[in-house]
């Protein structure tokens, strides 16, 4: 057993000398950028569409009831479909209908579909965190719905929305590993490629694991930082609010 491990270690060292060369570094770096780019495009568009989705979901009146229901159904359904299944569904639908999209586009479409549902839910949580009186006041000041969102709700809501939305983005960096299954050359696929070339799994997938870590960990830390900072500022805002309220009340009495 001991000898066996020594042999493995020898092979590992031999392969490592071959593996860690400049060309492979470039290849892996490009794969890493694909992963990152895919996530940024997918989640960025997901944020925009999520915003639109929530705007439609908050429409008033009976006429828009079907729209609201459609939006609720969208969120409830696509939060409950595994990314892998959706990925294959999108791929086969696109290819089945003879559309000539690239694999990268297909992956981005799937990411957008999923992230719209999740980020939409996050944005809704943020909007709900703003007190109803703010909406009422804005309505009393004759703000339109868009103006209310733009000038009253969003300036208060974004602090609640940003930390979880960013956390979702960081989480999706890891979920994009599944896109390797439709054949996109991102980090996981690169790891598979090297493993198939005959490099030890410890070496190929171990390196890929480390690269994911390098990609994800600073982002996680950044997310914590954003959250802590916004929390502080929120507290400051509350203080300001208290200071601001007091003179007003004094004037009133």
């Amino acid at each position: 057993m001991y000898e066996g491990f020594l042999d493995i270690f020898d092979v590992f060292l031999e392969q490592a000398a071959e593996f860690y060369v400049w060309d492979n570094a470039v290849y892996l770096f490009r794969a890493m950028m694909t992963t990152l780019f895919m996530t940024i495009v997918g989640c960025g568009l997901g944020f925009v569409f999520g915003m639109i989705l929530i705007y439609l979901r908050k429409t008033p009146g009976l006429i828009f009831l079907p729209v609201r229901l459609a939006m609720i159904f969208y969120v409830e359904i696509f939060r409950r479909v595994p990314f892998l299944v959706l990925l294959f569904l999108v791929m086969f639908t696109v290819k089945g209908f003879g559309l000539d999209y690239s694999l990268f586009t297909i992956a981005c479409i799937s990411i957008v579909i999923i992230s719209t549902a999740f980020i939409g839910e996050i944005i809704r949580g943020g909007l709900d965190s703003v007190h109803q009186t703010q909406w009422d006041t804005a309505a009393a000041m004759n703000f339109s719905r868009l103006q209310t969102l733009r000038h009253v709700i969003l300036p208060q809501a974004w602090k609640v929305v940003l930390p979880p939305a960013f956390a979702f983005f960081v989480m999706f960096i890891k979920d994009t590993a599944l896109t390797s299954q439709v054949g996109i050359l991102e980090l996981t696929q690169a790891g598979k490629y090297y493993n198939n070339l005959g490099y030890s799994a410890i070496l190929s997938f171990g390196t890929v694991l480390l690269l994911y870590f390098v990609l994800s960990y600073p982002m996680t830390r950044l997310g914590w930082w954003i959250e802590a900072r916004l929390r502080d500022r929120r507290r400051d805002d509350d203080d300001e609010l208290e200071i601001g309220v007091t003179p007003y009340e004094l004037r009133r009495t």
């Binding site: 003879g98 493993n195 410890i202 694991l209």
Partner: protein, 224 residues
């Protein structure tokens, strides 16, 4: 538009796929409880352990929460045989799910432990509660109340996560769709049915968890 849907051919496979759904369920169930065990010990170690234990657990958590489950699965799946350890795909995936969710659940459960205040334990002691009674009436209800919602959400999330097992040849719901799609070429129909089944399973699981939460722990939870 040159694709003709043939739902009939796909719907014949529903019983076969339901069998896969059953495997999905018990894979996620066993994986969840293995992960919960790891998480429990992780959280205990992190709350009450020495500095070295805390550091080790922190490394474990940070590593697994910052790397994709798929790649750790590949790492285990192809890495273990190099050391002469041969596991079936099902057990490899189970190991991976347990390790991965153990890291997340360590974090979740630590939040629960922190929520029990020392003053409440002191109060219970003053009232003459034995240690077992404290556990039964103070600690567990507290922890259950705080942890029930995040753990339920995590379980739902894990049901979706087990779709990954299909890549390694485990014949759960997605894996069985892979099989049948390759035989019949009714890919769109079969994947749509599978997606619908996942939606149904998770909605059902959410509903059951909400009922359990109300009935057993008296918590009003919004599950997923």
């Amino acid at each position: 538009m040159n694709y003709t849907f043939q739902w009939g051919e796909a719907f014949i496979e529903v019983p076969y796929l339901l069998g896969g759904a059953w495997i999905t369920l018990h894979l996620s169930f066993i994986g969840f409880w293995s992960g919960a065990t790891i998480g429990l010990f992780g959280a205990l170690g992190k709350t009450y352990g020495g500095p070295l234990t805390v550091k080790l657990i922190n490394w474990y958590v940070i590593f697994f929460t910052n790397t994709p489950g798929l790649v750790t699965a590949f790492f285990i799946f192809f890495g273990l045989p190099e050391f002469g350890i041969l596991l079936s795909p099902y057990h490899t995936i189970l190991l991976n799910i347990a390790l991965n969710s153990g890291a997340y659940m360590t974090e979740i459960m630590r939040g629960g432990f922190v929520s029990v205040h020392k003053t409440e334990l002191e109060a219970a002691e003053t009232m003459g509660f034995t240690l077992l009674q404290q556990l039964r009436y103070v600690i567990v209800p507290h922890i259950a109340k705080v942890l029930f919602a995040p753990l339920s959400n995590w379980y739902i999330w894990m049901i979706l996560g087990t779709a990954m097992a299909a890549i390694f040849g485990v014949e759960e719901l997605t894996g069985r769709v892979f099989n049948r799609a390759a035989e019949t070429f009714r890919s769109i129909e079969l994947y749509t049915i599978a997606a619908g089944m996942y939606v149904a399973i998770t909605i059902l699981a959410s509903a059951i968890l909400v009922v359990i939460g109300r009935w057993a722990f008296r918590v009003k939870v919004k599950v997923f």
